[in-house]
Symmetry: C2
Subunit: 694 residues, 2 copies
């Protein structure tokens, strides 16, 4: 459904501009100019009650006077007039409205009211609204050529589509492609996005055959799960490249000040990117370069790169970057070596990188390109090409372009030249669809991004395990019982953990000192004694924990001390089998509104406190993700038994993460849950302290 609805937005038969203006510096003039200059293939209808024509095009007093079909109506009028204009559009049968004007929810409650008002009308007429407070869209499809936008970059037709709320950043990215003479397919910047959303546009672009790669920029997600679903579906079909800004607290504040949102540290977006299979970036330049490569190159089969160069240093720089990005540089196969030894200069370096020397000819390049394309040792190729005056650079460019057009393996080119003096050479490469980068690092990183997408496609799919031994009803009973509490009591916590098959030491609850002793006797010594009362959150800080109590006397003494120290009428005692040894790990979970829960895993003690060596994921955590988490901490070698210690039961930890994920998914009312510590042994893992806040 959404595809069909956006189809006419991006391929409109007629475009009206409500608020069309005769003034050059008015957006209501610029949109018309852009449509005309870009060569829009449909009807253009300026709407202005006082003008007969705008930019030489017949104007209409009202949209209702327009004779032809209007699929898209721009609104470039003060906010307060928009609801009425929407009404008119509805009567005319307009399908989409692009509201370029501002003055809506981004300005405060009054504007938000107007937004609500026009949306009611739009819904009544089945009109989809793009914006408000937005730039608009561009579609370079030669059959459409829709420039429903007031920005300034005039793209060639290409295969990269851009979607972002922020017009400024969308334009920076767009301009980046343009400056490299790389075309785009669809451009969409939807400002406040009160109706047509980023996820919906991503879904449209995933279906659009002309789009080979989708690029987006976000400062936070309005509809995280909608974005996740749309992106996940898209990434299985074509690469989605994304950058999130506002990563730092200061950045988040800057974002909040121009979007009217809340400044907050946002870990969920990164995790959503990862889970959805997005190729993510922290630098818009890297994103632009990667998109250029994706726009023209196939996806590599693996991470093995062959390098061809006619100058040494740049290949060294690229090699460092490629290795950092996880690519490998295998040696040339024997047959490739033998072949090139015959074809290249005797002084040429016949290894990987292959250096044909500055005097290397087009035949030399061609021999290398053909050999590396045919050599099964390589999945992709990086070509460095500096243009010395003493070789026929045009013929070299032709060789590179010809091989590129066979699309056998992805190839990027680090073209080091002066574009003015070597304009023809540059044009041959560009026309041949060779992604060219002036800097070796940029070329290498773009290739690295292609390999990242290969790794995403090859990810183990993973599944959310179901557990036959989980007793959801038992846990639900505890939650029902604890309604109104913000912290669950120890017995409630451990009942829930047991219901979810999470190993805990044997435990009993006792109302008083004698009860505690009886409980300890029943469990068997040694035991741990913990004070339990609503007011006792930080038990150990308040002297509310005593471990390794070896007999009844010790239990009695400890309970007495706690009674003296903690003055709480609801004080009870939680008695637990004492479990010595094991490697301390911690698991945690935190509700993330609109997303689900974050799940955290790490080693305990200094590893979390000092080294912050923890990993996160989002619910529901699949088996593959749980495995990745356990292997993903920096000190993971310790779990494998580094330094002569025994390895721990990673399978148990992976299972535990999934049970925890299921628990918080089943009970969204859980605000925070900590298993700290969990003791991991050679066989099994036991949660010896736990806390649940709701």
């Amino acid at each position: 459904m959404s595809k069909n609805m956006l189809e006419t937005l991006f391929n409109p038969k007629g475009v009206a501009v409500i608020g069309a203006s005769g003034k050059e510096l008015h957006i209501g003039n610029r949109v018309i100019k852009n449509l005309v200059d870009f060569g829009y293939q449909g009807g253009i209808y300026p709407i202005n009650p006082k003008a007969d024509e705008i930019r030489g095009i017949k104007a209409y007093q009202s949209i209702l006077d327009v004779p032809g079909q209007v699929d898209v109506a721009h609104m470039v009028i003060p906010a307060r007039f928009v609801p009425m204009a929407v009404e008119d559009c509805g009567k005319k049968g307009v399908k989409h409205i692009i509201i370029n004007s501002g003055g809506f929810s981004e300005t405060g409650p009054e504007g938000a009211e107007i937004e609500k008002a026009f949306m009611e009308k739009a819904r009544a007429y089945g009109i989809r609204v793009f914006g408000p407070n937005c730039q608009g869209i561009i579609n370079t499809d030669p059959a459409v050529k829709a420039y429903c936008n007031f920005t300034f970059t005039f793209p060639e037709a290409g295969h990269i589509s851009i979607v972002a709320l922020s017009g400024g950043v969308a334009e920076v990215i767009h301009q980046g492609f343009s400056a490299m003479d790389v075309g785009t397919r669809i451009y969409a910047s939807n400002g406040n996005a009160c109706d047509v959303s980023i996820p919906e546009i991503i879904r449209y672009l995933a279906d659009d055959d002309g789009t080979r790669v989708i690029v987006t920029y976000v400062e936070g997600l309005k509809d995280p799960m909608g974005f996740f679903e749309a992106a996940r579906q898209a990434t299985s079909r074509k690469p989605v490249l994304a950058m999130k800004a506002g990563r730092t607290m200061e950045g988040a504040k800057a974002a909040a000040s121009h979007t009217g949102g809340l400044a907050r540290e946002d870990m969920a977006t990164d995790l959503i990117f990862k889970k959805a299979g997005i190729v993510d970036f922290r630098d818009e330049g890297h994103l632009i370069n990667a998109a250029v490569a994706f726009g023209s190159q196939p996806v590599p089969r693996g991470n093995r790169v062959g390098i061809i160069t006619n100058t040494g240093g740049p290949a060294v720089i690229a090699t460092d970057i490629l290795v950092d990005a996880g690519l490998t540089l295998p040696p040339l196969s024997e047959s490739t070596r033998a072949l090139l030894a015959k074809k290249l200069y005797p002084e040429a370096s016949i290894s990987n990188p292959v250096d044909v020397l500055a005097t290397g000819t087009a035949d030399h390049y061609l021999a290398c390109l053909e050999a590396l394309m045919a050599d099964d040792s390589f999945d992709c190729i990086l070509v460095h090409f500096v243009t010395p005056f003493f070789v026929d650079t045009k013929r070299i460019a032709e060789a590179i372009a010809r091989i590129n057009q066979q699309q056998l393996k992805p190839m990027v080119c680090n073209l080091m030249t002066d574009r003015r003096q070597w304009a023809e050479t540059v044009t041959i490469l560009k026309t041949g669809g060779v992604p060219c980068f002036a800097l070796p690092s940029d070329a290498a990183r773009a290739l690295g991004a292609l390999v990242r997408y290969r790794n995403i496609l090859d990810r183990e799919p993973g599944r959310v395990r179901s557990y036959a031994d989980v007793d959801t009803d038992a846990a639900r009973a505890v939650f029902d019982r604890s309604d109104g509490q913000t912290m669950l009591t120890s017995d409630q916590v451990y009942e829930i953990l047991e219901a979810y098959g999470i190993d805990v030491p044997e435990w009993r609850m006792a109302a008083d000192m004698d009860g505690a002793v009886a409980a300890a006797d029943a469990i068997g010594y040694p035991v741990v004694l913990k004070a339990d009362a609503a007011s006792v959150v930080h038990k150990s800080d308040m002297g509310g924990v005593a471990v390794n109590l070896t007999d009844a006397d010790a239990v009695k003494k400890a309970a007495r001390k706690m009674t003296e120290r903690i003055d709480a009428p609801d004080l009870r005692f939680f008695v637990q089998q004492f479990v010595p040894g094991g490697r301390e790990v911690i698991l945690g979970s935190k509700a993330e509104p609109g997303v689900g829960h974050l799940i955290m895993f790490g080693l305990g003690g200094i590893f979390v406190d000092v080294l912050k060596d923890v990993v996160f994921n989002l619910t529901p955590v699949t088996d593959a993700e749980a495995r990745e988490m356990v292997g993903g901490i920096q000190a993971s070698a310790l779990l494998d038994g580094a330094r002569g210690e025994k390895p721990v039961d990673k399978t148990a930890l992976i299972d535990l993460i999934q049970r925890l994920s299921k628990l918080v998914t089943d009970f969204p009312q859980i605000k925070e849950l900590d298993l700290n510590p969990v003791l991991a042994f050679e066989k099994g893992a036991v949660a010896v302290d736990a806390r649940i806040a709701r």
Copy 2:
């Protein structure tokens, strides 16, 4: 002296080209063309025995026939003819020879012989040789305009100087400036660098008033200490920006294959960069952008940045990058807020970043620029400027350029535009010396580099401490005694440590079991017993260490076991006071040929084995550097007493690092030295195990 000698290289009165050619595609033609096209101010003398003129310039049969003064002679002739040609140059009184031809040491021993041969002649005549196998130099000084080079970028006059062995990378960097319409001052790429060296050129550029910033690229250092000294002196006067490639093992291999050097992991170069105060880069694009900023901007007084923008998103991106780079975004002062509230649109965002809105005018920009320049809260300014069609972008550009020319505080500009449509606006900014970057991240990182140089200038100078209590003679006696050994025995090691005032537990050497017991009795229990023999390197693996022996019996038993286990005729026993507790740290040192020694510091155990949480420096380590090392490990909070533990005596560790540095500096024959572990206490630190290899 070196300055004077290079003075004529970079400012030659006359240039001869030996091997001048009439063929367009010959370097001997291109150099003449480049000199002419660039507008060289001196005499040009083609040398060719068979031609009357080259490119319309009178040619000479021999350099001896040239009537005018020749300061620089290019050689573009086969290697074997070079020694003879050098002889002729000597007779003519040529001061510098630039050998563009290859075929020398880079090709193997035969070429190296030729290199030796011509260098002998050059030295005899006092000629300095630049190259061979090199591009040459460019000097853009309008009074000189020397383009003694066969490359293709024609730079405007500017303030950035480039020096690198690699012509390919030097050209990439040079082309980077050119593509941004930024001029350069001096360009020097010296290939094999058999005589005129990178350090010598850096010294010349440090003295050159026209050079505001020096840029270099290396794949390794031929003369590490010469480079260090030259760079250290230069960085106190002007910024030196450098990048080292071949960081990865694969990159080092690629570098070795084109320089003929050895592939090896090179940690020393990074440490030399740091110690010399170089602003270092891992990405040539970042280096280029930083150089552009340094070329026109003053050094900021601190790290506080104010941002002005007319579009939200790009300022969010920049903020993230700035914060990552250690800059802060303070709030506007009250008076700035009050002032801007009067001058900007009511909807403008008057905080940091200041958002004047897309419709913001030149007056708005000017008000912000003046206010932030006057506001003591800020040390530098980042201006984002997108060019909407509906504002007077030329006037905005004029405002930015005018404020920039006051050079009150450094400023960089993220200019988001289409260079073709807004050519005049772009020109105003460029002419005004405003460093302009198309991407917000690039602008932010360039500003970050300016602040990095500020931090380098503000570094605590640090001094190499001298120690009155160090007994060098005693240590020397041990080294004299141990001549011929590769590993020192325990008594030798501990004697040396004691001579250098390094705390060790009380110890004795014993020839046999009874001696060991006597030694233990004398020291007092508990003790540690260690087997000592030339063949026992990994003592603990061989069961050659027994700790916490509490009485004579235990010592006897342990000694007997070791005797049985270790079949070495030279077996002796090292008896040492047992020191319980303390935080395990490790110190180490390793000889680095041509540089001195690496000094390593870290926490012991898993921190070094699993987490690799160690820091390095180079001898001689100053007090400031030792302090930085101790504070520089990731887990340094543990030394301060995290998690309720007692803090350790960091002063003792800082002292220990310096004593170790002095020891290995005084005795360069030390190949490796480990103090592992050192036990650090609340007061003091004791080396309980140590090893010295020579």
